[in-house]
């Protein structure tokens, strides 16, 4: 653990939807520059964790706190959290027909990084470089946000946004699902470029160890029935993929 102030601190987080408790006391600390992974079965609360950190209005926090760089996020709206540096790469990014990618990116960067950055030539250069590194053609800019995108295009577009927005904390909710080997490698390179050797951090939510081979996490956590039941190094991901989750219940 870094001795610096934690980047993200989740303390005894209980949260749910429509009166059903899904998260039953999550504790997690991510330090600056660290990449953590959360693995777990479907329905264990992984996406709920991501949504609660981002501030989805459908979820109610019953107890606990989510603290980013010493400041509680829970009273903030989702857009305020985004401006504080929280980024969520969505498992199923929303299509917005009629909203052009170029316009959307410019407004998003202006909201989070400031108008000056969105208008700068540096931004245009960064955008061109990021698109090239993610294999995204220029014609993308004239398309509508996620409208008619393939699964792989949606995921690469999420990573493009992450690179441009340079978040303090990036949460990647199953960004690897639906991607082929090349896609996973491309996305992983994007994550490494955005997080490694910076003061930012990342929380990768995944079912598979493949992405974690490219983005070596500092810690891997297992979520079971709304609680983190085991934490370990990167080797835990391989063990989970080989043995499944049943043995955790027995232990």
């Amino acid at each position: 653990m870094s001795e610096k102030m934690p980047l993200l601190e989740i303390n005894d987080l209980h949260a749910g939807i429509d009166g059903n408790e899904i998260l039953k006391g999550i504790n997690l600390i991510i330090g600056p520059g660290e990449i953590h992974a959360i693995m777990g079965r479907n329905g264990s609360g992984k996406t709920t964790t991501a949504n609660v950190i981002m501030g989805h209005p459908d979820f109610d926090v019953e107890k606990g706190d989510v603290i980013l760089e010493g400041e509680s996020l829970l009273e903030m709206e989702a857009w305020e959290r985004a401006r504080k540096g929280v980024f969520l790469s969505f498992q199923y990014p929303q299509a917005v027909p009629g909203l052009q990618v170029g316009n959307f990116l410019r407004k998003s960067v202006a909201s989070i990084r400031g108008e000056d950055e969105a208008k700068s030539s540096n931004f245009r250069e960064k955008l061109a470089n990021a698109m090239e590194s993610l294999d995204i053609p220029r014609s993308f800019m004239a398309r509508y946000v996620n409208d008619g995108f393939s699964g792989g295009e949606k995921k690469r577009f999420e990573i493009l946004q992450m690179i441009l927005l340079r978040p303090r904390l990036a949460i990647l909710d199953e960004t690897d699902s639906g991607l082929d080997i090349d896609g996973i490698r491309t996305v992983s390179e994007g994550v490494n470029a955005a997080i490694r050797d910076t003061d930012s951090g990342a929380l990768i939510i995944t079912h598979y160890s493949r992405i974690l081979e490219h983005v070596q996490p500092d810690r891997v956590h297992v979520l079971l029935d709304g609680r983190i039941v085991l934490s370990g190094g990167p080797e835990l991901a391989t063990k989970l993929e080989e043995r499944g989750y049943e043995w955790l219940k027995e232990e």
């Binding site: 981002m54 709206e77 989702a78 969505f90 917005v96 959307f104 909201s111 509508y144 927005l165």
Partner: protein
């Protein structure tokens, strides 16, 4: 019988009629006394290119109209009234055969401060290729616009009418024939007038005609915006799509009624219509009724649909998670919704111009 006599002979329209179900004739008549034909003024009309330059010689706006338009369709009442009222305000937009200016043309109509009316006949030459924006502005309490004429064989025309009057009532009627193999995009952008009643009819009487009718409607406050659109397939291998997006805020009401007809003998016709309404407040109201009349069995397709709903909460969250605050996200989602049809109305330059016009309106309106 002249148009005035014809109008007076028609009497009060039946509210049970599809056309008059939501907006009575009395409400959109200049005085409300439907037995009256009040004198109406003449608006100012001017023609220019989108960059403000003079239009080239292949297009001209001439005063007067030759002959009498065909008002055989059942929107006779509106047409007869507007035709009779616009006797001294008739214009013909003449477009030469093969005219292709490369840039959109703007026909600006300034209604002024007093009630006025205009009848514009379109005489669009064969194999011409151009984009026309008819922009209506002003502070008049009442404005009537009748558009008749023909888009001739092989012409490719993007025809957008933009209603931006600051107040009052806008009564519009289109009765336009589409020639053989002509390709038309007919766009309506409406975000003005307290009350709008619009009756748009397109007739494809020759084979190969192709029309996309598109609407981007933004209503706010207590606006009442009623559009009725009819597309008639009267020849084989004709194609039509109607896509109508209305965003309704405040205590406004929008109405979209559509009628697609495929006459017997129109083999290979392909037609569809869809109305989408975005409700921005609890007191806003939107009604859509798409209707079909298919008399031919051998058609490619003929469908219709309608969808109403508020702003999608998941889209809202997605934009919020990207730093858009609540108002910014809402504005962006409304603009995106309207842009889905707006972007189909024409080329890049025309689209950019329309987005700019509508953005200003979007900023100004309390949706």
């Amino acid at each position: 019988m002249d148009s005035a006599s014809r109008y007076l002979s028609l009497g009060k329209p039946n509210r049970a009629d599809h056309l008059w179900r939501y907006t009575s004739w009395k409400k959109v008549h200049p005085t409300g006394d439907i037995s009256e034909m009040p004198p109406l003024g003449q608006p100012e009309l001017s023609l220019s290119m989108i960059d403000g330059s003079e239009p080239p010689s292949g297009i001209k706006l001439e005063q007067g109209i030759e002959g009498n338009p065909d008002f055989s369709m059942d929107n006779a009442l509106t047409n007869a009234f507007l035709h009779a009222s616009a006797k001294s305000s008739e214009w013909t937009l003449v477009v030469d055969k093969r005219f292709s200016p490369g840039k959109p043309v703007i026909l600006e109509i300034r209604t002024g401060d007093s009630p006025s009316v205009a009848h514009i006949s379109l005489d669009i030459g064969e194999i011409s290729e151009f984009e026309l924006i008819t922009k209506v502005t002003g502070r008049s309490e009442w404005f009537g616009l009748l558009r008749t004429g023909q888009i001739q064989n092989g012409a490719i025309m993007n025809d957008v009418v933009l209603g931006l009057q600051e107040k009052g009532t806008f009564l519009r009627s289109d009765a336009i024939a589409i020639g053989r193999d002509a390709q038309v995009r007919a766009g309506t952008v409406s975000s003005g007038s307290e009350r709008t009643k619009s009756d748009l009819r397109y007739i494809m009487g020759d084979p190969g005609g192709n029309i996309r009718v598109l609407g981007s409607i933004l209503s706010a406050d207590s606006m009442h915006i009623d559009h009725h659109i009819e597309i008639h397939h009267e020849a084989p291998e004709t194609f039509s799509r109607l896509s109508w997006h209305s965003a309704c805020g405040g205590s406004s009401r929008t109405i979209g009624t559509g009628m697609l007809t495929i006459r017997k003998g129109s083999r290979g016709a392909d037609a569809a219509q869809i109305f989408h309404n975005l409700l921005l407040s609890e007191s806003a109201e939107a009604d859509s009724i798409p209707e079909l009349e298919v008399m031919e069995n051998d058609v490619v397709g003929c469908g219709h649909g309608t969808a109403n709903g508020p702003i999608d909460e998941e889209q809202m969250f997605y934009l919020n998670a990207r730093g858009f605050d609540k108002d910014g996200a809402k504005r962006s989602l409304i603009a995106a919704f309207l842009n889905s049809t707006l972007s189909e109305m024409g080329g890049v330059e025309l689209h950019k111009w329309l987005v700019n016009e509508l953005s200003l309106k979007l900023e100004a309106l309390h949706t």
